[in-house]
């Protein structure tokens, strides 16, 4: 199957970039762009050809037989959507880093390495393999931030790497435990998902693995790596971080933690502070994340921090959607993964590439007087569109996703759904405020005459923005496109345990 | 109940240790109790027939002294190993099950000693006066 080539082509592209002769920046960019376009084409083909509901086995080979580890790549509807997202973000990220001049080849090599590993995670159906790719992601991520980053980059990069390593350590403990308890010498997802783990085991393995993954998904209170990491990262890296890497965490929560240990979501049998299960706990944390992220975003001075905290708020929606445990909520969570991937990518692109690379400041108070809506109108328009989409205006993907999650949450946790309302209102407010301060400063403020004038928005930036907006609008207008593949996937045997155990 | 019986073999050793410690303790304790204690400055001075110490006790020696001393010890100890071998030589064929095993083993051993000897000889360590700079 072609899908496996998304991984190989990305890795080969990274290798080729390193071997290119020095000093051919344009060649390097074009090669990277070509690589991502090819991988995107592959995922798109697979997505279009996907016979709904079927599990697409890509390749299955024995790898380390004595431990029962296989090289098993496959994709169902959920994986396909995330693969598609990765393809889109990868292209957009390269378009938005067209202006990178320093160590171009290395930059794109790390970039492609990261993309390849992300594809790998979404395609892995053997948990060992999944973990392998999951760990590989950390290294290029670290380098991208630490070499090409800006504000406190080494700190941000190291914090991100350590959080990731600790998270994956927790995941590994859970996975090993599952592997041992199942005792079948198999790390295959299906085998482990089918195995009826004892209840008390699931009760502690579930939170362990879930939190391990949720650290990367930016779950409150383990989110602190995210704002610093995003701010420190170069534009393309923050796009990838918010766009796909955080999705890795959410994907892991759904694919591994919830699939393997569905009973861990069940009631404890007693109540602490009104919380009766891990499900309640994580739902509460998700809601706190939504509200907290939005409120903190409201008071940030740094433009990028606004977007960084908004990511935490939006990731909270995904986690809340997962915890609703009804079809609507789960499907909404997957759509939100896609939607937030695209929109966060776009927002970071506007802030990092369009604004910061030109104005060389991200301070909202300084940006205001620059009168950016006149200087770079395209950026202003893009930000308005992206902002609207992200606050959930109908017609964009964010609306569909958040609506589904809200309805799902309303059925499961009515009280939380009300609290989420606060988050949504705050969400409108912080986007509005950032928009106002950065682009449409109050009249009466003397517009600073720019010397020299800001360079106009380049073609690659326009293309990237159009691609991302297009993806969001397409999903917003015709969500059925995604739901058609998500719903059958949720009904696949893989989620049997979840459906039988605690599905509502 | 083999093992306790086996440990009984060590009883004489234990008695020896007890006797030694006991005797030493007894003598020290006895001198402490019987003797009279009168501390004076004279007691701390150098002993009557001794000499008053002069200079530093840590003199410097040529490193060659140490080399020769070390080599002497090495070859001496090596020679000592031959003694037990010589004593039980006649019994070796019976215990090893091979007639010449003990013989060849000692030959190998002597061979190694000779290699060592050859090495220090060629390295000039036995030549006292020859300057071999970096010892």
């Amino acid at each position: 199957m072609m899908l496996a080539w998304t991984i190989y082509i990305s890795f080969l592209g990274a290798l080729a970039l390193l071997l290119l002769p020095k000093g051919s920046a344009t060649l390097a960019r074009s090669l990277a762009l070509l690589t991502t376009i090819v991988t995107f084409a592959i995922t798109l083909t697979a997505f279009v050809q996907h016979r709904t509901g079927a599990l697409l086995t890509v390749t299955q080979k024995s790898w380390i037989p004595s431990l029962g580890i296989e090289y098993h790549l496959a994709a169902d509807g959920i994986s396909l959507i995330l693969l598609l997202l990765t393809g889109i973000i990868a292209i957009a990220g390269i378009l938005f880093s067209w202006n990178i001049e320093r160590r171009v080849q290395e930059f794109f090599a790390f970039y492609l390495l990261l993309i390849g590993a992300v594809y790998g995670v979404f395609l892995s159906y053997d948990l060992f393999l999944l973990f392998v790719f999951y760990e590989i992601v950390i290294i290029p991520k670290y380098f991208l931030i630490a070499i090409w980053g800006s504000t406190r980059r080494e700190y941000g990069a190291m914090k991100l790497a350590l959080y990731s390593f600790i998270g994956s350590a927790m995941v590994l403990v859970g996975l090993l435990a599952a592997y041992i308890v199942a005792g079948a010498k198999s790390m295959a997802l299906e085998d482990l998902a089918r195995f009826p783990f004892p209840l008390h085991f699931q009760m502690w393995a579930f939170p362990l693995v879930f939190v391990g993954f949720a650290i990367l998904a930016g779950m409150w209170p383990f989110h602190t790596w995210a704002p610093t990491g995003h701010v420190a990262a170069p534009t393309a890296a923050s796009m990838l971080l918010a766009g796909v890497v955080m999705k890795l965490g959410a994907y892991g929560c759904l694919r591994v933690a919830m699939t393997l240990f569905p009973l861990g979501l069940g009631p404890w049998g007693f109540h602490v502070l009104g919380l009766g299960s891990w499900r309640d706990v994580f739902a509460l944390l998700a809601v706190i994340g939504i509200v907290y992220g939005a409120l903190v975003a409201l008071v940030q001075k740094d433009f990028k921090f606004v977007i960084g905290y908004s990511s935490i708020s939006h990731m909270g929606f995904i986690l809340l959607g997962l915890m609703t445990l009804n079809q609507l909520g789960l499907a909404g969570a997957v759509v939100q993964m896609f939607s937030h991937g695209v929109l966060a990518g776009l927002l970071f692109a506007v802030v990092g590439r369009m604004v910061y690379d030109r104005a060389h400041t991200r301070d909202l108070a300084t940006l205001g007087p620059m009168n950016l809506n006149k200087a770079i109108p395209f950026a202003a328009v893009t930000f308005v569109v992206a902002g609207m989409a992200s606050m959930g205006l109908p017609g964009f993907s964010g609306f569909v996703a958040e609506l589904m999650i809200l309805i799902g949450a309303w059925r499961a946790f009515p009280l939380f759904a009300v609290c989420v309302g606060i988050g949504i209102v705050a969400g409108v407010a912080y986007i509005w405020r950032a928009m106002q301060q950065a682009f449409f400063a109050e009249a009466g403020v003397e517009p600073t005459s720019m010397q020299p004038p800001l360079p106009p928005i380049s073609i690659p930036e326009r293309l990237g923005a159009i691609l991302l907006i297009g993806a969001s609008v397409a999903v917003g207008l015709y969500p059925q496109m995604l739901l058609n593949v998500i719903l059958p996937a949720l009904h696949s045997p893989l989620f049997d345990g979840l459906r039988k155990g605690s599905w509502q | 109940m083999n093992k306790p019986a086996y440990m009984w073999n060590y009883i004489p050793l234990l008695m020896q240790i007890l006797a030694a410690v006991g005797l030493a303790g007894f003598i020290i304790a006895a001198s402490w109790f019987i003797g009279r204690h009168r501390n004076s400055k004279v007691k701390l001075a150098a002993y009557e027939c001794g000499m008053v110490a002069q200079g530093d006790a840590r003199g410097r020696f040529s490193v060659r002294f140490y080399m020769v001393a070390m080599l002497f010890i090495l070859f001496d100890v090596e020679a000592v190993f031959m003694l037990p071998w010589a004593v039980i030589y006649r019994k070796l064929p019976a215990t090893t099950g091979s007639r010449f095993f003990g013989f060849w083993e000692m030959l190998v051993y002597v061979g190694f000693v000779l290699v060592g000897f050859f090495y220090i000889w060629k390295k000039g360590i036995l030549e006292w006066s020859k300057d071999k700079a970096d010892l």
Binding site: I64, P65, S66, L67, F128, F131, V132, F133, E135, I136, I138, I139, Y142, F143, A146, I147, E154, A157, M158, A161, L162, F165, I166, S168, A169, M170, L172, V173, L176, A177, Y179, I180 | K3, P4, Y6, M7, Y10, T96, F112, V115, F118, Y119, K122, K123, A133, D134
Partner: protein, 501 residues
């Protein structure tokens, strides 16, 4: 069975000894001006022959020789091959290191060979006195090797410290052997096992076991017997550190395995908690200590303490898989650690010009290939997938989990997450800092032998990480000599002779 001549059972040792003796005899015959490289190449050939001989021993039926002092089996062969491999690579990367700096270049090769002989003897010995002999042969050689940079005070300090503390440790070991003899009336591991199983004089045996654990714990630099490690690794010449941080550890681990698993197998309730504590202490102290180090050799020294801890985790599992994991991890650790020190030895040269973290700033620009190799070794030390370190750790923790050591595994994994910090800091020095051209130090161009050595190590790290199967089966075959009846491993024993084809 009796057809196998005893000499064949120690054939690798014999070959290495003869090579070493010949090197030692030839050395003084050469004039002072002559290059000692031919001696090094001769030592290399001898090592290759010894490795071949070890591999050939796989075809021998497992059995004992020299009055039950030596036992060759898949387990001993695994460690022979490992030690031989370490020796080979060390010779390759140090072929030019001392040339022109020391008047004792020839002896360097001889000492390395003798030291390897001692270690090999340790791994195949089933008689504690034999173990002791091997320990002494290897230790005395490494004491000298540690002080090989004679004109440097830190090197002399390293040698003295290593010697004094090492002698104490060996004394402890010997005392343990004596107590063991007192309790069981034998120093043969199999007889000890019978004595231990009979359950007499448990107190004496526990004491003996503790003493031996102290002695061997020192050799593997496991906490709380690790204090010598940073000082010694800092002072000793870098190629020697690569050798002495891996090969003696491998040998000591082999002995530890034989003593605990075979000799004291029925007293596991005593040594498992002890090893548990040592494992936790080593991992934690090693990683915490490395966090604050600015000297790369000291940092790697602490990291080696931490890795000894991971290895002890595998021991604590006390199962066939645990044993295989310990063997595998030893090999993985050897590949990456020898590599890291080899690169340091190349970049900093004989006079140790680059020992601080900031000396490595931006070196990736100046030495892209050496830095790339270093990056691979460091990533492997962190435990990034597709490297030996990742699979080794994965296997170790899996087996520990299998034996129900949840807490230990959790502590270990958190530790390995923490460890990423200081390895990444080193990596970021290499790749992210601007290169200071003013501090340019012209290195001698890398010799073919060095490049070959590094290539072997990089290949080993990657092969062990990507297709670990073959080495894994060899390790499991070794483990099967201890747990002959355990499920899948029993099948592996029959395929033993084909393992290397």
């Amino acid at each position: 069975m009796t057809a196998v001549s005893p000499a064949l059972r120690i054939l690798p040792e014999i070959l290495l000894t003869l090579t070493g003796v010949l090197v030692m005899v030839t050395e003084p015959l050469l004039s002072a001006k002559t290059s000692r490289k031919p001696l090094g190449i001769f030592a290399l050939l001898g090592t290759l022959a010894a490795i071949a001989a070890s591999a050939w021993q796989l075809h021998l039926p497992a059995g004992t020789a020299f009055f039950n002092t030596i036992q060759t089996d898949a387990f001993s062969v695994f460690f022979h091959l490992l030690i031989g491999g370490i020796l080979l690579v060390t010779l390759l990367v140090s072929l030019n290191y001392f040339e022109g700096h020391s008047t004792y270049v020839g002896e360097f090769y001889a000492l390395l060979l003798f030291s390897a002989v001692g270690m090999m003897l340790m791994t195949s010995a089933i008689e504690l006195l034999m173990v002791f002999l091997g320990l002494e042969i290897s230790s005395i050689s490494t004491y000298i090797l540690a002080g090989y940079r004679k004109r440097s005070a830190v090197s002399a300090e390293a040698s003295i410290k290593y010697f004094l503390l090492g002698s104490f440790a060996t004394a402890f070991f010997l005392y343990g052997v004596a107590l063991c003899f007192g309790a069981t009336g034998s120093t043969n591991i199999h007889s000890i096992a019978t004595g231990v199983a009979s359950g007499s004089s448990p107190l004496l045996l526990a004491l003996a076991l503790g003493m031996m654990l102290i002695g061997l714990g020192f050799k593997v630099s496991a906490a709380p017997f690790h204090v010598w490690t940073p000082d010694v690794y800092e002072g000793a010449p870098a190629p020697v550190v690569g050798f002495m941080s891996t090969a003696p550890k491998a040998a000591a681990f082999a002995v530890l395995l034989r003593i605990t698993y075979t000799g004291f197998g029925t007293m596991s309730h005593i040594w498992i908690p002890l090893l548990w504590i040592m494992a936790v202490a080593s991992m934690t102290i090693g990683n915490l200590g490395a966090l604050t180090q600015r000297n790369v050799k000291r940092m790697l020294a602490y990291s080696s303490i931490a890795h000894a801890g991971y290895l002890l985790v595998a021991f604590t599992a006390f199962s066939a898989d645990g044993l295989a994991a310990a063997c595998f991890y030893t090999a993985a650790y050897a590949a990456m650690n020898v590599g890291a020190f080899a690169i340091i030895s190349y970049l900093s040269g004989y006079d140790e010009r680059r020992v601080h973290l900031q000396d490595y700033a931006g070196l990736a620009k100046r030495h892209p290939l050496a830095s790339a190799a270093m990056a691979i070794f460091l990533l492997s030390l962190i435990g990034i997938p597709f490297t030996a370190g990742f699979f080794g750790k994965f296997y170790v923790f899996t087996t520990a989990m299998h034996s129900g050591l949840w807490i230990l595994v959790t502590i270990g994994l958190l530790n390995s997450g923490l460890a990423a910090f200081y390895y990444l800091r080193f990596l970021s020095q290499l790749y992210m800092q601007p290169y200071d051209a003013a501090q340019d130090i012209s290195e001698a161009p890398a010799q073919p032998a060095f490049v070959l050595g590094i290539a072997i190590l990089v290949a080993a790290v990657l092969v062990l990480g990507i297709i670990p199967n073959r080495v894994l089966r060899l390790a499991q075959a070794g483990a099967a000599t201890y747990f002959p009846c355990s499920g899948t491993n029993a099948a592996e024993v029959h395929t033993q002779p084909n393992l290397l084809r």
